[in-house]
Symmetry: C2
Subunit: 445 residues, 2 copies
């Protein structure tokens, strides 16, 4: 099979092969912890075999449900936050025409519940007026504030526009198998539902119905996505010196130990912007704890060569880069010749735009390595479902390994609760009376 | 006047007032260097008095030109990279309806030349087929690779679609007053032009025609934008303990000296996403040099509380936050009551969505300060032109001061040349023969 590849040659000016190989033992141990379920957070390992264990019928059911929404809706709003937003958003953006929104292609997949923007919600609801729209609501509990607010508002609007019975046909809920507010509501209203497994955490859920349904609604081939993920599940299943998930996990930890505190995920294709956002959640939330962890950042090049490029080239030498390089583009554009040649571009006339882009990438890599920025490169054959499936599983597997090498629980997120607790206290949520009193005493302005 | 405000109270757990006040002398010195032109990079200080020195006739000319494009085009493509892209993009996104692209409102302002994405250009050119479109091309030299490629392609397409004479009426060039390829072409073809002053660098150019024309084409009030900037020019002109540009510059440098290496610009309104991108260029490119400088990052909350939130709360304690808080929203959405209340939201029924958002913000601030993340807050009365003008000038002025406090040249970007030189060598650009030979010897794969 064509497959993604990982090249770590260009970190070797900053750390040695021995620095990386020294992590072999902990890497073996990490893989064992993952597969035996003997490590921290072992109640959240359901993502490990999602590609191999998801029944064909479930995929078929998702496709049928998606096609039903596609047939009946101009717009489908996917409601979710964190992992219930970023995975689908990342894959859809990577596969979509950049100007799809302007073209009016349907169904449009829009997102809500990923923020508490009053103008965002107003403008969304205003846009949906008179539109045939449906909702995919994603929440394990059904009570997470952001998606719950969005769903309450949009459900009310949909029912007002088409009546309760028709609305129920256009709402799909992805939630806990048995418990929670959304499960109860879905049962009462007769919504089509899919299950979020107890042992699959949000940031590892893109290969479950959470990510797959919105991706299928957008018209993409989730079978190919899952096939790619399955190929990578197999390729990274056991310890080996060629296991690219281990290679990436070991190398980034070796760099971190050598004082490289920030990892910048770099793309040269703007369609990968949200893939980087997904990656930031995956790694930031898995590793940023116990006052440690690499700080994940991202840039879209060559755009950001004219922005963060200066810092990366000449700022503090505490960073490394991981470049995602897309080998083949979907389309071809050749730079035309121009008689006057005032802009001086005739030396590249006849070349494809991507050839220039690849030279920008290579030139940047050389400049950064020369400037003290170690550089890993992940090549993906093309922005197609199967390769994105490979890339997703690769990063997930590497993240589990990396978190254990760092010696944290990669599968919890205790820090996310802190703002929620304060917010509930400030909003005087029932059950938070004590916290409300305490926080009021704290506010001095 | 209503004005933006800066609150630094919540950094005082990490650094003391004395730490900040110790920078008074260098801050006074920095302001003097800016206003006397006695510091490094003093040939690029033209941005300092852009609001006060830009003639009314120039603004009127920009508005007239914009209205002409608006009347004659369904789509206007702004071609530029770095500062010739981010400023306009930031202001337009901050002021636009989130779903404007889906609504088909015209003229649509699209961007090109800010990347070398082959698919991006293909899809743009495909979208423009048969459309009435115009071009604003922004480049001091006219030979910067990214915008030059985009302009060569789109100019050819426009001329093919409407003929050379009509195309010339729909192309506006913003370029050097006398020199360069684009100036020469504009003269030959008879394009309408505006001037980029020699002493205004890219990342400080949003309040010049570079930013103002695309913003006006998008339909926004550039006079109000400039008025806000002028108010801030006056408010930050001289040293004072109340000068908010100095307060921000001193505080972030005091934090940096105390080991806070990463500044995260935080918003709670997704419309500010690209404002953060503009800010990252401004600060990253101005300060990231000589192996020093704060690493600028950004998050969109509450979205990213479910992503980077964990790292920020519990990762390495080497970060601080600067929150941009928008006081008034444009629209009102009230959370409805629900009889069943399965989602448990009735305790906030009747509240505006923004009240909840503000409590998420406050709750997060308290959690982060408790967790060891110093927090500055900039409040902006609303996302309106005049306040954005204030905010832009504020950040520019503070950046000049901050760069001098850091003891770098805030107005050059030597590191940006490195990748370009390599790229030209790899592409065998005439004049780079020696570099081509040298770089070929370096490539071992």
């Amino acid at each position: 099979m064509k497959a993604i590849k990982v090249n770590i040659k260009n970190v070797l000016g900053s750390i040695s092969e021995a620095d990386i190989n020294n992590l072999d033992a902990v890497s073996v141990d990490a893989i064992e912890k993952l597969h035996k379920g003997s490590g921290l957070g072992n109640d959240f390992l359901g993502w490990l075999d999602l590609p191999s264990r998801t029944p064909t019928q479930e995929i078929d059911d998702i496709v049928t449900t998606a096609n039903n929404l596609r047939a009946n809706c101009e717009v489908v709003v996917a409601i979710g936050i964190g992992g219930s937003y970023l995975g689908a958003k990342a894959v859809i953006e990577a596969l979509s025409d950049t100007f799809a929104a302007y073209r009016g292609s349907t169904p449009q997949v829009l997102f809500a519940g990923q923020n508490i923007g009053e103008d965002y919600l107003y403008e969304l609801m205003d846009y949906l007026k008179g539109k045939k729209f449906g909702i995919v609501v994603i929440s394990k509990s059904g009570t997470t504030t952001e998606p719950a607010i969005a769903f309450r508002l949009l459900k009310e609007q949909l029912e007002a526009q088409v009546g309760k019975a028709e609305a129920a046909k256009r709402i799909v809920a992805i939630t806990d198998a048995k418990r929670g507010a959304l499960r109860q509501l879905a049962t009462e209203e007769g919504y089509k539902t899919f299950v979020i497994d107890d042992n699959v955490g949000g940031r590892f859920s893109v290969l479950s119905p959470v990510g797959l349904l919105p991706i299928a609604v957008a018209g993409y081939d989730i079978k190919a996505l899952m096939q790619g993920a399955l190929d990578m599940e197999k390729a990274t299943a056991t310890h080996s010196v060629d296991n690219i998930a281990e290679i990436y996990a070991k190398t980034r930890n070796a760099l971190y130990r050598a004082g490289k505190k920030i990892e910048i995920l770099v793309n040269y294709n703007p369609k990968l912007h949200f893939f980087a956002e997904w990656w930031k959640q995956l790694y930031g939330e898995s590793e940023g704890k116990d006052h440690k962890g690499i700080f994940p950042a991202s840039v879209d090049n060559s755009t950001d060569l004219h922005s963060m490029g200066q810092w990366i080239q000449d700022g503090e030498r505490t960073i490394f880069e991981t470049v995602i390089s897309v080998e083949e583009q979907q389309h071809e554009v050749v730079i035309p010749s121009d008689e006057a040649n005032l802009d001086g571009l005739n030396y590249i006339a006849g070349k494809r735009v991507d050839e220039v882009n690849k030279m920008a990438e290579l030139g940047t890599r050389i400049a950064h390595v020369d400037g003290g920025v170690p550089n890993m490169r992940i090549t993906i054959p093309a922005l197609k479902e199967e390769y994105l499936g490979q890339l997703i599983y690769f990063f997930e597997k590497a993240c589990g390994i990396s978190g254990y090498i760092l010696d944290v629980n990669p599968f919890n997120q205790p820090g996310v609760e802190d703002y929620k607790r304060n917010m509930f206290a400030l909003l005087a949520k029932p059950g938070y009376e004590k916290e409300t009193e305490a926080i009021k005493a704290k506010i001095t302005e």
